[in-house]
Amino acid sequence: MSTREVPTRGLLYLRRRQIIRGILATTAFGITSKLVGCSSSPEGSSAGGGDEKPLVIGFLYVGAKDDFGFNQAHAEGAAAIAKLPGVKIVEQANVPETTEAQEAMRNMIEQDGATVLFPTSFGYFDPHILKIAEEFPEVQFFHYGALYQEGKHPKNIGSYFADVDEGQYVAGRVAAATSKKGKLGFVAAKPITPVLRNLNSFMLGALSVKPDIKMQVIFTGDWSLPVKEAEATNSLADQGVDVVSMHVDSPKVVIETAEKRGIFSSGFHTVQSSLAPKGYLTGAAWDFPSIYTQYVEKFKAGQTVIDDSIPHLIRGGMKEKFVKLAPYGAAVSAETQKDADDTQAKLIDGSLYVYKGEIKDNTGKTEIPAGQNLKVTDPALDKMDWLASGVIGNVGG
């Protein structure tokens, strides 16, 4: 065999020495560019503040910053506090939930001088944040999700979480009022509690306008499956659904496909009006600019999570300005807009509950008994495993 290979070497054959030379050159280039990168960062941080040292806040995202979804929602929050005086932010996108997250956090603390970190993705918490938090007890870590446990986790960690149910409830009312056929659709990733809360609150809102409305749910099976999401939206449109909402990582495919099919869509995570100028109704969006601004105000007042002056777990809904409604689209009538504004006001002042008993599931079983009202921050809701009445679908798979 080896003798036969000799003639084939003629084409584009490189000598070993040349390859080694090439590798050395590339490594040298890599090291130089890395060093240049480091030396420029202190200049950036000194330029940020006025006469006093700026507060450096670090953000980690698991995906791209402009995915029209979860990561973009956080990045918009980061951009909002970057405008505040005396605040400098450092960001890193596409940080996987591996030891790379620890490396990114350590770099932000040691090289950029970050004293507050917001590692946003769910999977960063255990073990990555826990480990780095022990290593740097003077740095504060805030993680999105309600995972902090008193006594078990380091004192310099805080959790925050926005309960999106109220936003979805109002969006569901808008959807039901705008729907002409009385049939809604929902493209969901997996039948797990956060997704079920989202789609049930949307449905409860819709039922409060039209008690006989139906909603068809399609579970695609994973957070990001663009082809399946498009197929699901098309199938829903084929079945006469005229408003579709979703809980997937990036709602872009669902909203654009719905627009192509000429049906309405209700968004999630962030504002997607620009994707569907005709069909986008509204959508529940995280209000991270508000959440992060609230945190910065606390930091500036000298509060820290280390001495418990900032609570270790902060949860909020519309009242706390953790969740907002996207601006209404062109298809939403003035009457519906007013109704949605009133509903929001009632949810905020506490006279209206999303989870107001009696609530039955789609098999007729009572899930929340009559007379019982649950706040969206109620931990009992974190065990939800049912679909509200009128939803056509099945959690069991």
């Binding site: 084939t8 791209a64 402009d66 399609i218 399946k228 449109a237 990582d249 872009k252 099945n394 798979g397």
Partner: protein, 308 residues
Amino acid sequence: MAAETIGWWGVPLAIAAGTMRGGTPFLFVSLGECLTEKSGKINLGLEGTLLTGAMSAYAISYLTGSPWLGVITAGVAGMALGLLHAWLTQQPRVNDVAVGIAMIIFGSGVAFFLGKPFIQPSAPQLPTLNLGTWSSIPSVQEVLKISPLFLLGVALAPLMTWFFKSTRWGLLIRAVGDSPDAARAIGISIPKVRMLAIIAGSFLAGIGGASLSLYYPGIWSERISSGQGLMAVALVIFARWQPMQCLYASLLFGGAQALGPALQSVGMTQGYYLFNAAPYILTLAIMILTCSPNRTIFGAPGALGTDS
């Protein structure tokens, strides 16, 4: 507003639409891989080529406003990756499969790195041929919005069969793939033929990527392919290295993708995980049914995966 709901008709309709919409990337990648494997080389890296093609097509369509220019660029970007693969795999003692896996990582890395600024914007999409204007049912009209890329792929399959069967160049490729020694004996440059076959195959895979980002689902995101490139490579074995069978297999897999969502939309709410796994179960079933302990896979190029 005729036919408000089409009920159970939605399922066959969705599968028919799925064969054309979802089958197009499978078709191009499997035809490209078929061409490459006929010359005796395996290119697993087509998953990376698919992603690079999708990204470059979307980016160029967005930047220039011309989706067709995007399609061409996707093909050219695919050729560049193909050139790299062809050069690497023809070095002495280099393994096709190992290079292929490296090329998956490299191709997707390039696509993710250069594709960052294009996740958010909406690029102009390829026009579709609307053959459903005779119908008053919107769902039928939607199914018959056919992409010219799909038609191109469908035309390519018989063309490729003819190419392998009846042209001198087709014979050369088959000779190199089946019996390199014989090919060398009649004075054919094996590295050149293989390089051309790999580059042409990668060109087709790049076009497949363009159909993902510019036709269906029509976005650029890092999860756009979700393994379709690798599945298309497996399809070639399934199709026994016959271009026409690649076409049927691609249509089947495209249609199977639509099965899970379509059944749920008509109220078949049980067992959606099973239906979503339909393409994979189908592959396994066919592999098991067609395998035999008494012979090697029928139709495989003789030198495929060997070190010659």
